[in-house]
Protein backbone atom coordinates (compact mmCIF):
# COMPACT_ATOMS: atom_id res chain seq x y z
CA UNK A 1 0.00 0.00 0.00
CA UNK A 2 1.06 3.58 -0.51
CA UNK A 3 2.07 5.33 2.72
CA UNK A 4 2.86 8.86 3.82
CA UNK A 5 6.18 8.97 5.63
CA UNK A 6 6.92 12.65 6.07
CA UNK A 7 5.87 16.22 5.46
CA UNK A 8 7.94 19.18 4.35
CA UNK A 9 7.08 22.83 4.80
CA UNK A 10 9.01 25.21 2.61
CA UNK A 11 8.91 28.75 1.22
CA UNK A 12 8.84 29.09 -2.56
CA UNK A 13 10.32 32.56 -3.12
CA UNK A 14 10.95 33.04 -6.87
CA UNK A 15 14.29 34.78 -6.24
CA UNK A 16 15.57 31.54 -4.66
CA UNK A 17 14.99 29.83 -7.98
CA UNK A 18 16.71 32.67 -9.82
CA UNK A 19 19.69 32.42 -7.44
CA UNK A 20 20.04 28.70 -8.21
CA UNK A 21 19.47 29.13 -11.94
CA UNK A 22 22.11 31.88 -12.17
CA UNK A 23 24.57 30.04 -9.87
CA UNK A 24 24.94 32.73 -7.22
CA UNK A 25 24.00 30.62 -4.20
CA UNK A 26 27.49 31.07 -2.70
CA UNK A 27 27.15 34.85 -2.52
CA UNK A 28 27.02 36.18 1.07
CA UNK A 29 23.40 37.27 0.62
CA UNK A 30 22.25 33.80 -0.43
CA UNK A 31 24.63 31.51 1.41
CA UNK A 32 22.64 31.48 4.70
CA UNK A 33 19.43 30.69 2.79
CA UNK A 34 20.91 27.61 1.16
CA UNK A 35 22.97 26.51 4.16
CA UNK A 36 19.71 25.57 5.87
CA UNK A 37 18.81 23.17 3.07
CA UNK A 38 22.07 21.17 3.13
CA UNK A 39 20.71 18.80 5.76
CA UNK A 40 17.40 18.61 3.88
CA UNK A 41 19.10 17.44 0.69
CA UNK A 42 20.92 14.71 2.63
CA UNK A 43 17.65 13.75 4.27
CA UNK A 44 15.92 13.54 0.86
CA UNK A 45 18.66 11.16 -0.38
CA UNK A 46 18.24 8.97 2.68
CA UNK A 47 14.46 8.95 2.62
CA UNK A 48 13.98 8.87 -1.14
CA UNK A 49 10.29 9.45 -1.90
CA UNK A 50 8.61 7.73 -4.83
CA UNK A 51 6.01 10.47 -5.05
CA UNK A 52 5.67 13.99 -3.64
CA UNK A 53 2.16 15.36 -3.19
CA UNK A 54 3.02 19.03 -3.52
CA UNK A 55 0.66 21.74 -2.29
CA UNK A 56 1.46 25.13 -3.75
CA UNK A 57 -0.19 28.17 -5.22
CA UNK A 58 -0.15 29.19 -8.81
CA UNK A 59 0.84 32.84 -9.25
CA UNK A 60 -1.62 33.69 -12.03
CA UNK A 61 0.35 31.43 -14.37
CA UNK A 62 -1.97 28.51 -15.08
CA UNK A 63 -4.94 30.46 -13.72
CA UNK A 64 -5.32 34.12 -14.53
CA UNK A 65 -8.22 36.20 -13.19
CA UNK A 66 -10.63 34.49 -15.60
CA UNK A 67 -10.69 31.23 -13.65
CA UNK A 68 -9.89 30.82 -9.96
CA UNK A 69 -10.33 27.30 -8.61
CA UNK A 70 -9.87 27.00 -4.85
CA UNK A 71 -8.29 23.53 -5.16
CA UNK A 72 -6.98 22.22 -8.49
CA UNK A 73 -5.35 18.79 -8.71
CA UNK A 74 -2.81 18.09 -11.43
CA UNK A 75 -3.83 14.90 -13.23
CA UNK A 76 -1.86 15.40 -16.47
CA UNK A 77 1.03 13.09 -17.38
CA UNK A 78 3.50 15.92 -17.05
CA UNK A 79 3.76 19.61 -16.22
CA UNK A 80 6.11 21.96 -18.04
CA UNK A 81 7.80 24.84 -16.21
CA UNK A 82 5.97 28.01 -17.28
CA UNK A 83 7.24 31.30 -18.65
CA UNK A 84 6.38 33.71 -15.84
CA UNK A 85 7.48 36.81 -17.67
CA UNK A 86 11.23 36.19 -17.74
CA UNK A 87 11.35 32.82 -19.54
CA UNK A 88 10.78 29.31 -18.12
CA UNK A 89 13.09 28.11 -15.33
CA UNK A 90 15.82 25.77 -16.65
CA UNK A 91 14.59 22.76 -14.67
CA UNK A 92 13.17 19.39 -15.77
CA UNK A 93 9.58 18.79 -16.79
CA UNK A 94 7.65 17.55 -13.74
CA UNK A 95 6.31 14.00 -14.18
CA UNK A 96 3.14 12.84 -12.48
CA UNK A 97 2.05 9.52 -11.01
CA UNK A 98 -1.10 9.74 -13.05
CA UNK A 99 -2.88 6.70 -11.65
CA UNK A 100 -2.37 7.82 -8.08
CA UNK A 101 -3.42 11.37 -8.96
CA UNK A 102 -6.70 10.26 -10.47
CA UNK A 103 -7.27 7.89 -7.56
CA UNK A 104 -6.78 10.82 -5.17
CA UNK A 105 -9.14 13.01 -7.23
CA UNK A 106 -11.87 10.39 -7.09
CA UNK A 107 -11.40 9.71 -3.40
CA UNK A 108 -11.39 13.42 -2.48
CA UNK A 109 -14.50 14.23 -4.47
CA UNK A 110 -16.38 11.32 -2.90
CA UNK A 111 -15.14 12.70 0.43
CA UNK A 112 -16.93 15.94 -0.51
CA UNK A 113 -13.90 18.03 -1.49
CA UNK A 114 -15.04 19.47 -4.82
CA UNK A 115 -11.78 19.61 -6.72
CA UNK A 116 -10.96 21.00 -10.11
CA UNK A 117 -9.15 18.42 -12.23
CA UNK A 118 -6.32 19.69 -14.42
CA UNK A 119 -5.46 17.54 -17.44
CA UNK A 120 -3.28 20.28 -18.93
CA UNK A 121 -1.25 22.59 -16.71
CA UNK A 122 2.02 24.44 -16.64
CA UNK A 123 3.69 24.96 -13.27
CA UNK A 124 5.44 28.03 -11.94
CA UNK A 125 8.03 28.78 -9.26
CA UNK A 126 5.51 27.90 -6.56
CA UNK A 127 6.02 24.25 -7.47
CA UNK A 128 9.53 24.11 -8.89
CA UNK A 129 11.39 26.17 -6.26
CA UNK A 130 10.57 23.74 -3.40
CA UNK A 131 11.78 20.84 -5.59
CA UNK A 132 14.97 22.76 -6.38
CA UNK A 133 15.83 23.62 -2.79
CA UNK A 134 15.16 20.06 -1.61
CA UNK A 135 16.90 18.24 -4.48
CA UNK A 136 19.58 20.75 -5.50
CA UNK A 137 20.52 21.88 -9.01
CA UNK A 138 19.05 19.62 -11.67
CA UNK A 139 19.31 20.67 -15.30
CA UNK A 140 16.46 20.79 -17.81
CA UNK A 141 17.74 17.69 -19.64
CA UNK A 142 17.85 15.62 -16.46
CA UNK A 143 14.92 14.30 -14.44
CA UNK A 144 13.54 15.09 -11.01
CA UNK A 145 14.33 12.17 -8.69
CA UNK A 146 10.67 11.34 -8.10
CA UNK A 147 7.14 11.79 -9.40
CA UNK A 148 5.10 14.81 -8.29
CA UNK A 149 1.35 15.33 -7.88
CA UNK A 150 0.59 19.07 -7.80
CA UNK A 151 -2.28 20.55 -5.83
CA UNK A 152 -2.74 24.23 -6.63
CA UNK A 153 -4.56 26.26 -3.98
CA UNK A 154 -5.98 29.73 -4.59
CA UNK A 155 -4.34 32.21 -2.23
CA UNK A 156 -4.28 35.14 -4.67
CA UNK A 157 -7.89 36.27 -4.50
CA UNK A 158 -9.34 36.58 -1.01
CA UNK A 159 -10.53 34.41 0.58
CA UNK A 160 -8.14 31.51 0.39
CA UNK A 161 -9.60 28.31 1.83
CA UNK A 162 -9.53 28.35 5.62
CA UNK A 163 -6.76 26.67 7.58
CA UNK A 164 -9.37 24.30 8.93
CA UNK A 165 -10.48 23.33 5.43
CA UNK A 166 -6.88 22.77 4.37
CA UNK A 167 -6.16 20.66 7.45
CA UNK A 168 -9.19 18.47 6.79
CA UNK A 169 -8.26 18.20 3.13
CA UNK A 170 -4.88 16.87 4.29
CA UNK A 171 -6.66 14.16 6.26
CA UNK A 172 -8.68 13.21 3.18
CA UNK A 173 -5.51 13.18 1.05
CA UNK A 174 -3.99 10.73 3.52
CA UNK A 175 -7.04 8.48 3.36
CA UNK A 176 -6.84 8.54 -0.44
CA UNK A 177 -3.13 7.76 -0.58
CA UNK A 178 -3.34 4.97 1.99
CA UNK A 179 -6.08 3.28 -0.01
CA UNK A 180 -3.93 3.09 -3.15
CA UNK A 181 -2.74 -0.40 -3.81
CA UNK A 182 0.88 0.15 -4.77
CA UNK A 183 3.89 0.15 -2.48
CA UNK A 184 4.90 3.80 -2.56
CA UNK A 185 6.78 6.13 -0.23
CA UNK A 186 4.83 9.39 -0.45
CA UNK A 187 5.83 12.73 1.03
CA UNK A 188 3.55 15.74 1.30
CA UNK A 189 4.94 19.23 0.78
CA UNK A 190 3.19 22.39 1.98
CA UNK A 191 4.77 25.47 0.44
CA UNK A 192 4.68 29.26 0.53
CA UNK A 193 5.26 31.85 3.23
CA UNK A 194 6.52 32.65 5.65
CA UNK A 195 5.77 36.23 6.67
CA UNK A 196 5.95 38.55 3.69
CA UNK A 197 4.13 41.41 2.06
CA UNK A 198 4.98 42.17 -1.55
CA UNK A 199 2.64 45.10 -2.12
CA UNK A 200 1.94 48.74 -1.39
CA UNK A 201 3.28 50.84 1.46
CA UNK A 202 3.63 48.10 4.07
CA UNK A 203 5.74 45.91 1.74
CA UNK A 204 8.68 44.28 3.48
CA UNK A 205 6.79 43.29 6.61
CA UNK A 206 8.48 40.43 8.48
CA UNK A 207 7.29 38.91 11.76
CA UNK A 208 9.87 36.46 13.05
CA UNK A 209 8.09 35.93 16.36
CA UNK A 210 4.81 35.03 14.67
CA UNK A 211 6.53 32.73 12.17
CA UNK A 212 8.35 30.91 14.97
CA UNK A 213 5.10 30.40 16.86
CA UNK A 214 3.47 29.11 13.67
CA UNK A 215 6.23 26.53 13.21
CA UNK A 216 5.99 25.49 16.88
CA UNK A 217 2.22 25.09 16.64
CA UNK A 218 2.43 23.23 13.36
CA UNK A 219 4.53 20.56 15.02
CA UNK A 220 2.91 20.45 18.45
CA UNK A 221 -0.68 21.61 18.15
CA UNK A 222 -1.76 21.43 14.51
CA UNK A 223 -5.48 21.58 15.25
CA UNK A 224 -5.04 24.86 17.11
CA UNK A 225 -2.85 26.16 14.28
CA UNK A 226 -5.52 25.25 11.73
CA UNK A 227 -7.97 27.59 13.47
CA UNK A 228 -5.90 30.76 12.88
CA UNK A 229 -8.24 33.16 11.04
CA UNK A 230 -7.30 34.81 7.74
CA UNK A 231 -7.17 38.28 9.23
CA UNK A 232 -4.41 37.17 11.61
CA UNK A 233 -2.22 36.00 8.72
CA UNK A 234 -2.94 39.20 6.79
CA UNK A 235 -2.22 41.50 9.71
CA UNK A 236 0.61 39.64 11.47
CA UNK A 237 2.35 37.87 8.60
CA UNK A 238 1.65 40.25 5.70
CA UNK A 239 -0.88 40.14 2.90
CA UNK A 240 1.02 37.38 1.09
CA UNK A 241 1.72 35.50 4.33
CA UNK A 242 -1.74 33.98 4.01
CA UNK A 243 -0.04 31.42 1.76
CA UNK A 244 0.76 29.55 4.95
CA UNK A 245 -2.72 28.01 4.99
CA UNK A 246 -1.24 25.54 2.51
CA UNK A 247 1.06 24.13 5.18
CA UNK A 248 -2.03 22.81 6.99
CA UNK A 249 -2.78 20.42 4.10
CA UNK A 250 0.64 18.90 4.67
CA UNK A 251 0.18 18.75 8.43
CA UNK A 252 -3.30 17.26 8.15
CA UNK A 253 -1.89 14.42 6.06
CA UNK A 254 0.51 13.41 8.85
CA UNK A 255 0.03 11.66 12.18
CA UNK A 256 -1.19 13.72 15.11
CA UNK A 257 2.21 13.11 16.70
CA UNK A 258 5.21 13.81 14.51
CA UNK A 259 8.95 14.15 14.94
CA UNK A 260 10.44 17.46 13.86
CA UNK A 261 13.75 16.46 12.31
CA UNK A 262 14.82 19.79 10.84
CA UNK A 263 13.95 23.47 10.93
CA UNK A 264 15.44 26.44 9.10
CA UNK A 265 14.49 30.10 9.26
CA UNK A 266 16.22 33.01 7.61
CA UNK A 267 15.45 36.64 6.74
CA UNK A 268 15.52 37.72 3.99
CA UNK A 269 15.21 36.17 0.58
CA UNK A 270 14.12 39.14 -1.48
CA UNK A 271 10.97 40.35 0.39
CA UNK A 272 10.35 37.20 2.36
CA UNK A 273 11.14 35.25 5.51
CA UNK A 274 12.31 31.80 4.42
CA UNK A 275 10.88 29.05 6.58
CA UNK A 276 11.41 25.32 6.31
CA UNK A 277 10.50 22.34 8.44
CA UNK A 278 10.69 18.56 8.06
CA UNK A 279 8.23 16.42 10.01
CA UNK A 280 8.37 12.63 10.10
CA UNK A 281 5.53 10.32 10.95
CA UNK A 282 6.51 8.29 13.99
Amino acid sequence: MARITAGVGCSHVPAIGVAMDTHITDQPYWQPVFKGFEKSREWMKENKPDVIFLVYNDHCTAFDASCIPTFALGCAAEFKPADEGWGPRPVPVVKNHQKLASHIAQSLILDEFDLTIMNEMEVDHGLTVPLSVMFGEIGPDEEWPCLVIPLAVNVVQYPAPTGNRCYNLGKAVRKAIESFDEDLNVMVFGTGGMSHQLQYKRAGLINREWDTRFLDLLTEDPVFASQIPHVEYLREAGSEGVEMVMWHVMRGALNDEVKEVHRHYHVPASNTAVGHIILENV
Partner: protein
Protein backbone atom coordinates in the same frame (compact mmCIF):
# COMPACT_ATOMS: atom_id res chain seq x y z
CA UNK B 1 -24.45 45.48 1.53
CA UNK B 2 -21.73 42.88 1.54
CA UNK B 3 -20.05 41.34 4.52
CA UNK B 4 -18.10 43.55 6.90
CA UNK B 5 -14.42 43.39 6.05
CA UNK B 6 -12.30 42.71 9.13
CA UNK B 7 -9.08 43.36 7.18
CA UNK B 8 -9.77 46.94 6.10
CA UNK B 9 -7.96 48.39 9.12
CA UNK B 10 -4.55 47.01 8.10
CA UNK B 11 -2.33 49.92 7.02
CA UNK B 12 -0.53 50.15 3.67
CA UNK B 13 -2.25 47.04 2.38
CA UNK B 14 -4.86 46.08 -0.21
CA UNK B 15 -6.51 42.74 0.34
CA UNK B 16 -7.36 41.48 -3.13
CA UNK B 17 -10.96 40.47 -2.56
CA UNK B 18 -13.82 40.03 -5.02
CA UNK B 19 -14.59 43.78 -5.08
CA UNK B 20 -11.00 44.60 -6.05
CA UNK B 21 -10.86 41.69 -8.46
CA UNK B 22 -13.96 42.95 -10.25
CA UNK B 23 -12.67 46.50 -10.45
CA UNK B 24 -9.24 45.45 -11.66
CA UNK B 25 -10.21 42.63 -13.99
CA UNK B 26 -9.16 44.06 -17.37
CA UNK B 27 -6.12 45.76 -15.88
CA UNK B 28 -4.97 42.49 -14.35
CA UNK B 29 -5.70 40.52 -17.51
CA UNK B 30 -3.56 43.00 -19.45
CA UNK B 31 -0.71 42.61 -16.96
CA UNK B 32 -0.80 38.82 -16.98
CA UNK B 33 -0.79 38.75 -20.77
CA UNK B 34 2.81 39.96 -20.53
CA UNK B 35 3.75 36.54 -19.21
CA UNK B 36 3.92 35.46 -22.86
CA UNK B 37 6.79 36.49 -25.12
CA UNK B 38 4.55 37.16 -28.13
CA UNK B 39 2.55 39.64 -26.05
CA UNK B 40 5.66 41.26 -24.60
CA UNK B 41 6.84 41.79 -28.17
CA UNK B 42 3.51 43.33 -29.17
CA UNK B 43 3.43 45.65 -26.14
CA UNK B 44 7.01 46.68 -26.82
CA UNK B 45 6.14 47.49 -30.42
CA UNK B 46 3.41 49.91 -29.35
CA UNK B 47 2.03 50.30 -25.84
CA UNK B 48 -1.05 52.33 -26.79
CA UNK B 49 -2.13 49.96 -29.57
CA UNK B 50 -1.63 46.93 -27.37
CA UNK B 51 -3.61 48.50 -24.52
CA UNK B 52 -6.53 49.05 -26.92
CA UNK B 53 -7.21 45.30 -26.66
CA UNK B 54 -8.11 45.63 -22.98
CA UNK B 55 -11.27 47.56 -22.05
CA UNK B 56 -9.89 49.06 -18.86
CA UNK B 57 -10.82 52.43 -17.39
CA UNK B 58 -8.94 55.50 -18.64
CA UNK B 59 -7.31 56.04 -15.24
CA UNK B 60 -6.12 52.43 -15.16
CA UNK B 61 -4.70 52.78 -18.66
CA UNK B 62 -2.95 55.99 -17.66
CA UNK B 63 -1.46 54.36 -14.57
CA UNK B 64 -0.05 51.62 -16.81
CA UNK B 65 1.50 54.15 -19.18
CA UNK B 66 2.85 56.14 -16.19
CA UNK B 67 4.09 52.99 -14.43
CA UNK B 68 2.42 54.39 -11.32
CA UNK B 69 2.79 51.22 -9.27
CA UNK B 70 0.74 52.26 -6.25
CA UNK B 71 -2.01 53.79 -8.37
CA UNK B 72 -2.32 50.45 -10.19
CA UNK B 73 -3.03 48.76 -6.85
CA UNK B 74 -5.44 51.50 -5.80
CA UNK B 75 -7.41 50.89 -9.02
CA UNK B 76 -7.84 47.13 -8.48
CA UNK B 77 -4.51 45.81 -9.63
CA UNK B 78 -2.99 42.90 -7.76
CA UNK B 79 0.72 42.57 -7.12
CA UNK B 80 1.04 39.15 -8.79
CA UNK B 81 -0.34 40.79 -11.93
CA UNK B 82 1.32 44.19 -11.80
CA UNK B 83 4.65 42.47 -11.16
CA UNK B 84 4.45 41.19 -14.76
CA UNK B 85 4.44 44.77 -16.02
CA UNK B 86 7.36 45.47 -13.69
CA UNK B 87 9.19 42.40 -15.03
CA UNK B 88 8.60 43.73 -18.55
CA UNK B 89 10.50 46.85 -17.42
CA UNK B 90 13.24 44.74 -15.85
CA UNK B 91 12.10 45.46 -12.28
CA UNK B 92 12.07 42.49 -9.91
CA UNK B 93 9.80 42.02 -6.88
CA UNK B 94 12.26 43.51 -4.42
CA UNK B 95 12.95 46.62 -6.47
CA UNK B 96 9.23 47.02 -7.13
CA UNK B 97 8.67 47.01 -3.36
CA UNK B 98 11.36 49.66 -3.04
CA UNK B 99 9.34 51.83 -5.43
CA UNK B 100 5.91 51.13 -3.88
CA UNK B 101 7.06 51.91 -0.35
CA UNK B 102 8.62 55.18 -1.51
CA UNK B 103 11.85 54.14 0.20
CA UNK B 104 13.83 53.62 -2.96
CA UNK B 105 15.56 50.44 -3.99
CA UNK B 106 18.70 50.73 -1.84
CA UNK B 107 17.00 51.73 1.42
CA UNK B 108 14.41 49.00 0.98
CA UNK B 109 17.02 46.34 0.35
CA UNK B 110 18.91 47.53 3.42
CA UNK B 111 15.75 47.27 5.54
CA UNK B 112 15.19 43.69 4.39
CA UNK B 113 18.77 42.65 5.09
CA UNK B 114 18.35 44.04 8.61
CA UNK B 115 15.30 41.85 9.25
CA UNK B 116 12.51 43.56 7.36
CA UNK B 117 9.77 45.98 8.35
CA UNK B 118 8.86 45.29 12.01
CA UNK B 119 5.32 44.39 12.95
CA UNK B 120 5.28 46.81 15.87
CA UNK B 121 3.46 49.98 14.84
CA UNK B 122 2.33 48.40 11.56
CA UNK B 123 -0.75 46.40 12.53
CA UNK B 124 -3.50 49.03 12.42
CA UNK B 125 -4.28 52.09 10.33
CA UNK B 126 -4.67 54.04 13.57
CA UNK B 127 -0.96 53.44 14.22
CA UNK B 128 -0.22 55.16 10.92
CA UNK B 129 -2.52 58.07 11.80
CA UNK B 130 -4.97 56.91 9.13
CA UNK B 131 -8.70 56.48 9.42
CA UNK B 132 -10.16 53.00 9.15
Amino acid sequence: MGMKKDYEDIPGTFVFDADRSREGYHLNQFCISLGKQVNRDAFKAGEEAYLDKFPMKPEQRQAVLDRDWNRLLELGGNIYYTSKLAAFDGINFQNLAGLMTGMGVEAYREMMVKGGRPIEGNRYKSEWGEEE
